[in-house]
C-alpha cells in the first residue's frame, strides 16, 4: 500500500510539472537515440559486409588468386586435374549504368551450381530446366547470348529496366551495350541491389581482362586443400574465402569505432543531463521527502521510490530513443556508406538492419545511466536530515564544501586519462577510455572552477549593475544546480571544439600534403567506374603522345594495383617520377642517407605512414609482397612516407623494380610538368586533342582541380562526424534548457520577492538572461581547454591508432570564437523561456504563506 501511495505522490508531482517530465524524457530519448543510431549504423555496415561475402562467394570455402589475376588456361588445367573439386572461375569488376555503380560478377553458369551465390539466380535454374528459366521471364537462348546480363528484379523495377532491352554500360569511361536477358530474385540485399551477373566470357571482354580471370572459387575439404597446395605454383595463392572482406572490415574498423566514440560522447552528455533533470526532480521535493521521513518512511523506501521513478521514466524514454535511433540511422547509413565508398570500396547496401539485442542494449544504456544518475540524487535526498531539508543555504554550503574534494577527484581522473593516453599502447579502446576519463575528470572540476571564477569576479561584476550582480551571485550561491548545468553544456561544447580542432588540423595537414605531393601541373587518368577501385589503364601510346605535346617539360607515370603482402591486401602505387629524388613525397623515416637511390634498386620499396604505424614496420625492415613472377618476395623498406590518401596503407614501388616482378606493362596515370610561363588550360586543351585519338575518354585535370576535389571528399568524410556533433549539441541544449528551467522555476519565489521589492519584469528578465549569459560564457570558456585536450587525444592517440596518420595540431582562432558563441547562444536561447515565465509569475501566489 505504501508503494502505491508513494507512486501516486510521484505521479501527482509530474502531473503538476509536465515540462520537467517532458524534458527528462527528451534528454534520455536524445541520448539513447544517438547511441542507438550509431550502433544500428555500424551493425548495418557489418551486416552489409557479411551479405557482400555471401552474395559474392556463396558456398565458396577458398579462393585462388594471382598477383595480376589468374590465367584462364590454369583454370582449365586445374579442372582437368582435380575433377572431384567444385571450382568456378570468377571475374569481378565495377561498371556504371546511368552513373550508378554496380558490381559485375562474371561467372561460368555451368560451374556455378554448387556455389549458390546470389541465391535463386537464373544461372542456377538455367542449368536445370528451360521451363524454370522461362518462368523467370527469359528463355535459355536469351541467357546464352554472348552479350547477356542479369539484374535483380528489384534493381530492374527501381531503375525501370525490362527484360529484353539493351542497356548502356559505362566501363572505365567507355560505353558498351549489353542485353538484359533476365531478372533474378534474391533475399540478399547486396545481390538484390548492386549486382549484375554475366557470362564470364562476356564480362572478361567488357572489363578487358584479356585471358585473365580475377580468381578461382573453390569448395574444399582439408584433404583437397593439402593436395591443391602441393600442386600450386608459387605465383598463385590459396586463401580462405572472404578474407578480403575481413580485410575490408578491418579497414573500416577505425571509422566505425570513431562513430561509436562520438555517440558515447553524446551519451555522456546525456547522462549529465539525465542526472541534472533527475536531480532537479528530487531536489524540488526535498521538503516533501522530509515530511515523508518525519511521518516514518525510511530512507531506504524513499530511495527505492526515487529509483523506481527513474526506471519508469527511462524505460518509456529509452523505447522512444530506440525508435528515434532507428530513424536517425537510415540517414547515417547513407552518409557512412558514401564515406566507405569514397575511401575504401564500393558498398551497395544502404539498408538499416535492426536486431533485437539493440533494443536490449538501448534499454540497458538508457535505464542504466538514468538509474546511476538518479541514485546520486536519491542517496542525497534520503540521507539528508529531515530537519535540515528546508535549509537551502545549508545544502549550498554542503555542496560548496564538497566541491574541492570533487575537484581533486576530477584532477586525479584527468591525470589517469592523460597517463593512459601517453602510454605506448596500440589499443583504440584505451585511447577512448583515456579521452572519457579526461572529460569526466574535467566535468568534476568545472563546478569548483565556476565557484571560484564567479566569486573572484563578483566585485568587478557588482560595478556593472544590479542585474549582473544578482545574476553572477545567483550562480555561485546556487552552485549545486548551476555547476552541473554549466558542466553539461561545457562538455558538449568542448566536444564540438575538440572535433573542430581535430578536423581543422587534419584538413590543414591534408592541404599541405596535397600541395607538396601534387608536383605535376596536370594529371591524366583513365576514369574508373568507382573511385576506390584499381584504376583503369591508359593506352600504351599515351606516355609518348603526352611527352610530345608542346609546352610539356616532363612526364611521370603511375599505376595503382592491389597486392597481397605479409600484412594483408594493400594498394601499391608504381611510379616513374619526374626526378630521381621522387619529388613531393615527404619522407618521415629513411634507411640510410640516400633513400631514393635505394628505392630504385632491386627488391626495395617505400611504405606509407599508416602501414608502418599499424604493422610496426620501419625503414630498414622488410615486407613480403606477392609478385606475379616470383610469388612472395621480400622487399627492403627504403623509407616511410607521409600519406593521407589511404588509411589502410600504401606501397610505393619504382616502375623499373615493378617490371622485374610483374608482367603488366600498362600505366594508369600520367603526371605532367609544364615549361615555365605556359598556360595550364591551353596545354590541357592540347592534350585532350592529342590523346583523343585513343579510344578512351580521359580525365585531364590541373593539380588545382584535384586539390579542390580531394578537399571536397575530405569534407564529405567528416560530414557524419559533424552530424553527430550537432546531435551532441542538441542533447546538451535540451540539458541546459531543462537545467535552467528547473533552476529558475525552483527560484520562482526568490524572483517574486525581488518583484515585490521593486524589481520590474524587465529587471527579472535581465537578471535571468544575464545569468544564462554568464553561465554560457563560463561553459564556453571552460570548454576551450577541455576541447583542446580532447583534440590532442583525438589527433595524437585516436587518429594515429585508428588510421595511422600523424599530424600537427592547429588551434583555429575562428573555432575559439565559434565555441564561445555556441555556448552563449545555447544558454541564452535556453534561458528565454524560463526568463519569460519568471517575469510573468504571479507575485502574490508565490509569496502566499506555505
Amino acid at each position: 500500500m505504501l508503494a502505491h501511495i508513494l507512486a501516486r505522490s510521484s505521479w501527482r508531482f509530474y502531473r503538476q510539472h509536465p515540462a520537467q517530465l517532458l524534458l527528462s524524457i527528451i534528454g534520455i530519448v536524445l541520448g539513447v537515440g544517438v547511441v542507438c543510431a550509431v550502433l544500428i549504423t555500424n551493425n548495418s555496415s557489418q551486416r552489409a559486409f557479411a551479405l557482400s561475402t555471401e552474395a559474392l562467394y556463396g558456398n565458396t570455402t577458398h579462393e585462388l588468386i594471382g598477383a595480376n589475376g589468374v590465367d584462364q588456361q590454369f583454370y582449365v588445367e586445374l579442372r582437368n586435374r582435380f575433377t572431384s573439386i567444385n571450382m568456378a572461375p570468377v571475374i569481378v569488376g565495377n561498371i556504371a549504368i546511368n552513373d550508378e555503380v554496380y558490381s559485375l560478377l562474371g561467372l561460368d553458369p555451368f560451374a556455378e551450381l554448387a556455389f549458390n551465390r546470389a541465391s535463386n539466380s537464373p544461372f542456377a535454374s538455367a542449368t536445370t530446366s528451360q521451363q524454370q528459366a522461362e518462368s523467370n521471364g527469359s528463355s535459355l537462348t536469351d541467357l546464352l547470348r554472348t552479350d547477356a546480363l542479369l539484374i535483380s528484379e528489384k534493381s530492374a523495377r527501381d531503375k525501370q529496366l525490362s527484360v529484353g532491352q539493351m542497356i548502356t554500360l559505362d566501363v572505365a569511361g567507355q560505353k558498351h551495350s549489353a542485353y538484359l536477358a533476365a531478372t533474378y530474385q534474391s533475399d540478399n540485399p547486396v545481390a538484390a541491389t548492386g549486382l549484375l551477373l554475366g557470362d564470364i566470357a562476356f564480362v572478361q571482354k567488357l572489363l578487358q581482362r584479356g585471358d585473365k580471370i580475377s580468381r578461382i572459387d573453390l569448395i574444399l575439404d582439408d584433404e583437397q586443400e593439402l593436395a591443391l597446395q602441393e600442386y600450386l605454383p608459387q605465383t598463385l595463392q590459396l586463401k580462405q574465402a572472404g578474407s578480403r572482406t575481413d580485410t575490408m572490415r578491418a579497414m573500416t574498423r577505425g571509422f566505425h569505432i570513431n562513430l561509436t566514440a562520438m555517440s558515447l560522447l553524446a551519451l555522456l552528455v546525456g547522462i549529465f543531463l539525465i542526472h541534472n533533470t533527475m536531480t532537479f526532480a528530487v531536489v524540488q521535493r526535498r521538503e516533501l521527502f522530509a515530511i515523508m521521513r518525519i511521518t516514518g518512511i525510511t530512507s531506504r523506501t524513499l530511495m527505492k521510490n526515487i529509483l523506481i521513478e527513474a526506471v519508469a521514466i527511462s524505460s518509456i524514454a529509452s523505447m522512444i530513443g530506440i525508435a528515434l535511433g532507428y530513424f536517425l540511422s537510415s540517414a547515417l547509413v547513407k552518409l557512412t556508406t558514401r564515406t566507405i565508398n569514397d575511401l575504401y570500396f564500393v558498398l551497395h547496401v544502404q539498408e538499416v538492419w535492426f536486431s533485437p539485442w539493440l533494443i536490449a542494449l538501448g534499454l540497458a544504456l538508457g535505464i542504466g545511466s538514468s538509474v546511476i544518475a538518479a541514485s546520486i540524487a536519491a542517496i542525497d535526498a534520503a540521507s539528508t536530515n529531515p530537519v535540515q531539508a528546508r535549509q537551502r543555504s545549508l545544502i549550498e554550503e554542503r555542496s560548496q564544501r564538497l566541491l574541492p574534494l570533487l575537484a581533486m577527484i576530477g584532477v586525479v581522473i584527468m591525470a589517469a586519462g592523460a597517463l593512459l593516453s601517453v602510454l605506448p599502447l596500440r589499443s583504440l579502446v584505451a585511447g577512448f577510455i583515456a579521452m572519457m576519463l579526461i572529460i569526466l575528470g574535467f566535468g568534476l572540476l568545472i563546478p569548483w572552477l565556476v565557484l571560484h571564477i564567479t566569486r573572484s569576479l563578483k566585485p568587478l561584476i557588482d560595478k556593472l549593475g544590479i542585474s549582473l550582480s544578482l545574476a553572477a551571485g545567483g550562480i555561485y550561491r546556487n552552485i549545486s544546480r548551476t555547476g552541473l548545468a554549466i558542466a553539461a553544456l561545457s562538455i558538449a561544447v568542448s566536444a564540438t571544439f575538440g572535433v573542430d580542432v581535430m578536423i581543422g588540423s587534419f584538413r590543414s595537414s591534408v592541404d599541405n600534403w596535397l600541395k607538396a605531393t601534387l608536383q605535376s601541373d596536370i594529371y591524366i587518368t583513365a576514369p574508373a567506374a568507382a573511385s576506390t577501385q584499381t584504376a583503369s589503364m591508359l593506352s600504351p601510346d599515351s606516355y609518348s603522345r603526352a611527352t610530345g605535346t608542346l609546352g610539356v617539360a616532363s612526364v611521370s607515370s603511375g599505376r595503382t594495383l592491389q597486392v597481397s603482402t605479409s600484412v594483408g591486401d594493400i594498394s601499391m602505387l608504381v611510379i616513374k617520377p619526374h626526378s630521381s629524388d621522387g619529388g613531393g613525397f615527404e619522407l618521415l623515416e629513411t634507411d640510410g642517407d640516400s633513400p631514393w637511390q635505394l628505392w630504385s634498386a632491386d627488391q626495395s620499396l617505400m611504405i606509407s605512414e599508416p602501414l608502418a604505424t599499424k604493422h610496426k614496420l620501419q625503414a630498414g625492415g622488410s615486407i613480403d609482397v606477392f609478385t606475379q613472377n616470383k610469388g612472395f618476395t621480400s622487399f627492403n623498406i627504403a623509407a616511410v612516407f607521409r600519406d593521407y590518401g589511404s588509411s589502410q596503407g600504401k606501397l610505393l614501388m619504382a616502375r623499373d623494380v615493378f617490371d622485374l616482378y610483374w608482367q603488366a606493362p600498362g600505366i594508369s596515370s600520367l603526371g605532367i610538368v609544364l615549361n615555365n610561363s605556359v598556360e595550364v588550360e591551353l596545354v590541357i586543351d592540347q592534350l585532350r586533342a592529342t590523346l583523343a585519338s585513343s579510344e578512351r575518354p580521359l580525365s585531364i585535370q590541373s593539380n588545382t582541380a584535384i586539390h579542390e576535389q580531394s578537399l571536397i571528399v575530405f569534407d564529405r568524410t567528416f560530414e557524419v562526424t559533424r552530424v553527430l556533433r550537432w546531435l551532441t549539441v542538441g542533447v546538451a541544449f535540451v540539458g541546459i534548457f531543462s537545467a535552467l528551467l528547473a533552476l529558475h522555476l525552483e527560484r520562482a519565489k526568490e524572483f517574486a520577492i525581488l518583484r515585490a521589492s521593486g524589481a520590474t519584469r524587465q529587471t527579472v528578465l535581465m537578471i535571468v538572461m544575464a545569468q544564462t549569459f554568464i553561465m554560457g560564457l563560463l561553459a564556453g570558456t571552460l570548454a576551450l581547454p577541455l576541447g583542446w585536450m580532447m583534440s590532442e587525444v583525438l589527433i595524437k592517440v585516436i587518429n594515429l591508432r585508428s588510421f595511422g596518420w600523424s599530424m600537427q595540431s592547429m588551434l583555429p582562432v575562428d573555432a575559439i570564437g565559434e565555441t564561445l558563441v555556441l555556448a552563449v547562444a545555447s544558454a541564452m536561447l535556453a534561458g528565454i523561456y524560463p526568463a519569460y515565465k519568471l517575469s510573468r509569475t504571479g507575485i502574490a501566489e508565490q509569496l502566499r504563506d506555505d
Binding site: 557588482d462 544578482l470 550561491r477 520577492i753 515585490a756 521589492s757 520590474t760 519584469r761 502574490a844
Partner: protein, 236 residues
C-alpha cells in the same frame, strides 16, 4: 493631512470554473500619512487580496487605489513596480527572505534595485541592522536565524529605502507571543521614527490595539471599528 492610501469603490472578484466569487465589494478606506491602521477580518475575508491590490501586486480592475495621491488605476505593471520599489515596504507572515542571499544582501536588495551605490547601501543596512538588534549577523544566511530574527531582517528590508508606506501581512503570525510582542514594538518604533504610514493585517487583538485605528473587512466591505471594542468583534 494627505492619505498614504486612499481606496475608492474598489471591487474585486475571482472567477473559477464558471463561478464568480466577490472578494471586495465597493471598498472605501484611507490610511493617513504617518498613521498605522490595523486591518482585521476572518480568514478568507480578502485581507491579503486588498493588500495585494494596494501594493500593486495585482492590478485594480474596478474602483481606484491611490498611494500618496498617485492613482494605480492607469499604471502598467512596470509603473506599479517602480512605485512599489520607491514607496512601499512589505513585511510578510512567512518572512519571504531569499535564503541564498546573506542577511546583509537581503536587506540591501530594495536599495540595489533602486540603483543606490553599494557603499551607501551597506552603510544604511548597517544602521538598520543595529536598529533591529542584529548587528554582527550581517553575513549569516536567513535560514540559520530564529523566526523572530528573520522577521527583524524582513522589517529592516521593508524600511531600508525609507518608504512612505509599510504593508505588513500578519507579521507576528509565525512567532510566539513574546517574539511577536518584541517584533511589533520594534516595527512600531521604527515606522514612527521614519514617519511612514502602516497598514497592518492581523488576527491578533493585541497587535490591532497597538495601531492608531482599525478597519474590519467583512463580506467584502470595510468598516471602521473601535480598537477598544475589538474583543466583542465577530472578526476574530
Amino acid at each position: 493631512m494627505t492619505n498614504a492610501i486612499h481606496v475608492e469603490a474598489l471591487t474585486h472578484s475571482y472567477t473559477r470554473a464558471d463561478s464568480r466569487t466577490l472578494i471586495l465589494d465597493s471598498v472605501e478606506m484611507s490610511v493617513p500619512s504617518g498613521q498605522s491602521v490595523a486591518l482585521i477580518g476572518r480568514s478568507g475575508s480578502g485581507k491579503s487580496t486588498l493588500l495585494n491590490l494596494i501594493s500593486g501586486l495585482e492590478p485594480v480592475k474596478q474602483g481606484n487605489v491611490s498611494i500618496n495621491g498617485q492613482s494605480l488605476l492607469n499604471l502598467n505593471d512596470h509603473q506599479r513596480t517602480r512605485l512599489r520599489g520607491r514607496q512601499i515596504g512589505f513585511i510578510y507572515q512567512a518572512f519571504n527572505l531569499i535564503h541564498t542571499l546573506s542577511v546583509k544582501d537581503n536587506v540591501a536588495l530594495p536599495l540595489a534595485l533602486s540603483g543606490v551605490h553599494s557603499g551607501t547601501a551597506y552603510a544604511r543596512v548597517k544602521q538598520l541592522m543595529d536598529a533591529v538588534g542584529l548587528a554582527g549577523r550581517e553575513e549569516d544566511y536567513p535560514d540559520r536565524l530564529s523566526g523572530g530574527e528573520q522577521q527583524r531582517v524582513a522589517i529592516a528590508r521593508a524600511l531600508v529605502h525609507e518608504p512612505a508606506l509599510i504593508l505588513a501581512d500578519e507579521p507576528t503570525g509565525n512567532l510566539d507571543a513574546n517574539s511577536g510582542r518584541q517584533v511589533m514594538q520594534l516595527l512600531r518604533d521604527l515606522v514612527q521614527q521614519q514617519g511612514s504610514a502602516m497598514l497592518l493585517v492581523t488576527h491578533s487583538q493585541e497587535v490591532a490595539r497597538s495601531a492608531d485605528s482599525a478597519l474590519l473587512l467583512n463580506n467584502g466591505k470595510v468598516e471602521v471599528v473601535d480598537t477598544l471594542a475589538l474583543e466583542q468583534s465577530a472578526a476574530w
